[in-house]
């Protein structure tokens, strides 16, 4: 009757083999994940160590000198600032409204699918093809010439999918009941969006905008042929030293130039430029991450 079954839950060799395999798999996958983290840390540390002697406030605020073999990065830094700023001015409104259309207005049909495919495709077009497009369209066809304007427009179109994607996600996170409540009191679709949906998703949208800035700041290929130049000296300390139709220097392009095109550049100079560029981009991204975490912690629904 009460026949004991001592071996039912005992550890058999098979179980032990299973568990060993499990441990092994876990260790292998952990190593794989770790190997992704290690390069980031190593790279940042190595670059900063190499750049340390050169980095200073003066490095940021003086123009490159003696054929870019001395001096700082002022004109490149300001150029990047201009390019990012103007591309943001173009990409943010169009990108946000495009996401509003896709999330709030578009019906679920083949045309919407086509638009979504276009957004995905736009994000995947190689950066050098964007450069060709910018050259063919803005520089030549629209006659803007090689200028900050042409380069920013190229950057804007290239980085717009970043804004569209995160805005769409932010809008989709607003519960449908919010909208229904608003429609029920007689608000139009646009009033609902303007007063309920957008205010409730503003921080998500902001995250997308920040990511666009980081992406635009790092790009090189699209601006190479549409507005960035190897060298241009501008007035130091003047924030308005560039005009919209001027060509400009850019940090990313400057790093490419001094690390491959100019011989005999002092060792620390390209490293310092790389650190400033990488630091800017990672800082902006960290900002977006902090914003996102903070936002999630105080979400009301």
């Amino acid at each position: 009757m009460n026949a004991p079954m001592p071996h039912l839950f005992a550890v058999t060799p098979l179980t032990r083999k299973k568990q060993r395999r499990e441990q092994l798999a876990r260790a292998v996958f952990f190593t794989m994940a770790l190997l992704l983290v290690v390069p980031l840390v190593l790279i940042v540390v190595y670059l900063v160590v190499q750049a340390w002697p050169v980095l200073s406030w003066e490095f940021l605020t003086t123009n490159p000198k003696r054929g870019m073999r001395a001096g700082g990065i002022w004109s490149a830094l300001l150029g990047t600032f201009y390019l990012v700023g103007f591309s943001l001015l173009v990409a943010a409104p169009i990108g946000i409204l495009a996401a509003v259309y896709l999330n709030e207005y578009a019906k679920d049909n083949w045309f919407t699918r086509l638009v979504n495919l276009a957004v995905i495709n736009l994000a995947a077009v190689p950066s050098i093809v964007h450069a060709l497009f910018g050259l063919g369209a803005f520089v030549i066809f629209f006659g803007l010439g090689k200028s900050i304007l042409a380069a920013s427009l190229t950057l804007a179109i290239m980085t717009m999918p970043v804004i569209i994607a995160s805005t769409k996600e932010a809008l989709a996170a607003v519960p449908r009941s919010f909208r229904e409540a608003c429609w029920n009191v007689g608000a139009t679709r646009w009033q609902t969006i303007r007063h309920v949906v957008l205010p409730n998703s503003i921080s998500g949208i902001l995250t997308g905008v920040i990511l666009q800035v980081s992406r635009a700041a790092g790009e090189t290929a699209p601006i190479m042929f549409t507005g960035a130049v190897f060298f241009k000296a501008i007035e130091e300390g003047n924030l308005f030293a560039y005009g919209l139709r001027d060509q400009c220097m850019a940090l990313s392009m400057h790093l490419f130039t001094i690390s491959t095109q100019v011989p005999d550049v002092p060792h620390g100079l390209p490293f310092a430029t790389a650190v400033v560029l990488l630091g800017t981009v990672l800082f902006i991204n960290t900002l977006a991450i902090i914003l996102r975490v903070w936002l999630r912690s105080r979400k009301k629904w």
Partner: protein
């Protein structure tokens, strides 16, 4: 207001067609002027500025793009999917959050900085390790591209694993499967389409990358026979030569034709990935 929104909504379509139209507008002319398609695709001779015998064969450039991309995927796909499995199945919420942030930051590093790393870190390392004459080669470019495309593989791969219903996991665990058996026998088969899409998007990223390969692959037009051979890719060729080619010369137009080719390659790869992902979702 509504019409403005509608216009912005369809702007993505306008931009994609605009890109194709304007690139074709600049490069198309050369296609209708007894353009040698055979030479373009099957000849390794790329001599765009030869004074006597100009030839536009892109075979070596295609081989360059292919070799670097293939190596990058050989490295990035196992690591990316392995990391995705770890993030999605093995680790706790805190570690998961941290890893995802690191991967996001890895994705944010600009391509020119990657190229610079290839130039200053990997180049001497490869020379030292393999006793190679030059460290700017397929290996260097492949490693850099792998690091660049791993974040997208991890994030899409993790989405694919997350999309497998929890009931599958519970059923497996209830039968006494260990987590590894569960992953190997249940999750991987169930998520295989999504993981395939992750790999394809990695390929699209690697094929289209420009600055990093321009700086890290050694810039020699060459069909590689070993990992230590320098090569040049389609993208790098455009970036390197567009500045020197006189506007609207044949050379200039052929560079735009290469642009059309790249546009078509990445479009096809992306649409395929999208169709696969969509198929998964419908199921």
């Amino acid at each position: 207001m509504e019409s403005v929104i509608r216009l912005c909504g369809i702007s993505a379509i306008l931009f994609v067609f605009g890109i194709f139209f304007f690139v074709f507008r600049e490069g198309g002319a050369v296609l209708f002027k007894n353009f040698k398609f055979g030479e373009f695709f099957f000849s390794p001779a790329w001599y765009p500025s030869s004074p006597t015998h100009v030839r536009y064969g892109t075979l070596a450039l295609l081989a360059g793009t292919f070799s670097v991309t293939a190596l990058a995927m050989v490295i990035a796909v196992p690591f990316g999917i392995g990391a995705a499995i770890f993030v999605s199945e093995f680790c706790g919420p805190k570690l998961k959050e941290t890893l995802k942030i690191v991967i996001e930051l890895l994705a944010a590093i600009p391509s020119v900085v990657w190229g610079f790393i290839g130039l200053t870190v990997l180049n001497p390392l490869i020379i030292w390790l393999f006793d190679a004459p030059i460290g700017l080669n397929v290996l260097n470019g492949g490693i850099i591209l792998a690091l660049m495309s791993v974040p997208i593989i991890v994030s899409i791969g993790e989405d694919a694993l997350k999309a497998v219903p929890d009931s599958y996991r519970e059923a497996g665990l209830a039968l006494g499967a260990t987590r590894w058996q569960l992953i190997y026998r249940v999750l991987l088969p169930a998520a295989k389409n999504g993981l395939l899409a992750a790999g394809l998007l990695g390929v699209a990223r690697a094929v289209g990358e420009t600055m990093a390969v321009l700086m890290a692959t050694g810039h020699a037009i060459n069909i590689p026979t070993s990992l230590l051979d320098p090569v040049r890719t389609l993208t790098a060729t455009i970036a390197a030569e567009l500045g020197e080619a006189p506007v609207h010369s044949d050379h200039y137009r052929v560079l735009f034709v290469i642009g059309i080719l790249l546009f078509l390659i990445t479009t096809v790869v992306n649409l395929t990935a999208d169709l696969i992902v969509r198929g998964v979702r419908r199921k």
